[in-house]
Symmetry: C2
Subunit: 239 residues, 2 copies
């Protein structure tokens, strides 16, 4: 068993990892990769992640849905924000969505420069994702998007969940794997309560999106695995 699994705690540490032969799983639990998973699972044709609200404008006349929020409010003139509840079949089925997310976009673009493949993970597709990773003959890097380049709790917890599922099928030796898995095992019976300790949770509480947070912690609502192809996230397996 020579495949390795590693956890990169923030994009600022990605340069330390050799990912040329790795599938990189980008993680931005609150809320980008959760909304992306849900949207792709609900039949969105593609989701294009961009870093800034202004970047959406380049797509304004292409008939795409534009998603952007500032301070928890949908930006005027845009179709919706980052809540996973906006990514339903009714709203995104057959559509392409341009989604604004600073931390997640940065992580995806950095990974894309070197990785064998870049996919998206969230609690919503945990089992499906792990089944896929187990079936490949590749190393895995779990890339936490973090918050402004620094460590965050919710992305690390999800990385720990994946490590816990895959621990027997991969070699793992880095300390970030150890800490992520142990944090997950400590928190898994009540992720929501544990996340009350996190800084991002406080920021989100101020935005009044408790329902979003609870949704993003649900396990295995989705089977889809979004994969980055060029600038677009599309379903890894076409249904």
């Amino acid at each position: 068993m020579s495949r390795t699994i590693e956890v990169c705690l923030t994009p600022a540490l990605l340069h330390l990892y050799n990912i040329e032969n790795s599938i990189v799983v980008v993680i931005d639990i609150l809320r980008a990769t959760s909304s992306i998973t849900y949207g792709i699972d609900n039949g969105a044709e593609a989701i294009i992640p961009v870093a800034h609200v202004e970047d959406c404008l380049a797509y304004a006349d292409k008939g795409f849905l534009l998603a952007a929020e500032r301070n928890g409010e949908v930006v005027a003139g845009y179709d919706f924000g980052n809540s996973p509840f906006s990514y339903t079949k009714e709203k995104v089925g057959g559509k392409t969505v341009v989604l604004t997310t600073t931390n997640g976009t940065k992580a995806m673009h950095m990974a894309q420069e070197r990785a064998y493949k870049v996919v998206v993970g969230s609690f919503l597709n945990l089992t499906s994702l792990c089944n896929y990773l187990t079936a490949q003959d590749k190393n895995v890097l779990l890339l936490c998007s973090g918050w402004k380049d620094n460590f965050n709790l919710e992305d690390t917890l999800f990385a720990g969940a994946v490590v816990n599922v895959l621990r027997n099928d991969f070699t793992h030796s880095d300390d970030a794997c150890v800490v992520a898995e142990d944090m997950y095992l400590m928190a898994k019976d009540d992720l929501r309560t544990y996340l009350h300790k996190s800084s991002h949770s406080h920021r989100l509480a101020a935005l009044n999106i408790e329902e979003d947070v609870r949704f993003c912690l649900k396990l295995d609502l989705c089977k889809a695995i979004p994969v980055l192809e060029g600038e677009k996230l599309v379903p890894l397996f076409k249904s």
Copy 2:
């Protein structure tokens, strides 16, 4: 209470922290900051941390003790290596030691560029260090030296021990504080066993320095707090 305590998980993330008004505690448990604490406590006049064995040579004709090892062996021509057992009263009392340590030196020098003050922490001086930090009117940043710029377990565990002691006297809101403290609380009853999970522990096991590791995990053997003044670590309080 407006003082903050934060944990920086690796020197590669230090640029994310505002430390101009902070006391930075540099942590390199296995074994640099443990040996430095023990050496200063045992009456070393000063300890000069350098990053590379070659850097020691600049001090060769000054009558200093030179400490360097490669692959667990004292480098030929040097006085001793990095084992804390080399830093006894008999060996270092009244002497200046030049100590080679890549990760710790980098962390100290980076912090020194901006911090209010740079001190050294280890399990050996935990209580003394915490008493000192509590008595100052400064923010505290716990800087884990890590391993080659990446996260490591043993430095994070010690950061968590400090957070746990200081939690009521400081404001802490960053997620790294949460994870460090929770890891420490999980591991504290048997730090040695927990560290068997760490990557550095495996590296050290190969070097056959189990006694060093056990020594570096002892609590409160020392009262000294080394502080960085120019290029030298000296006792914060002269006895």
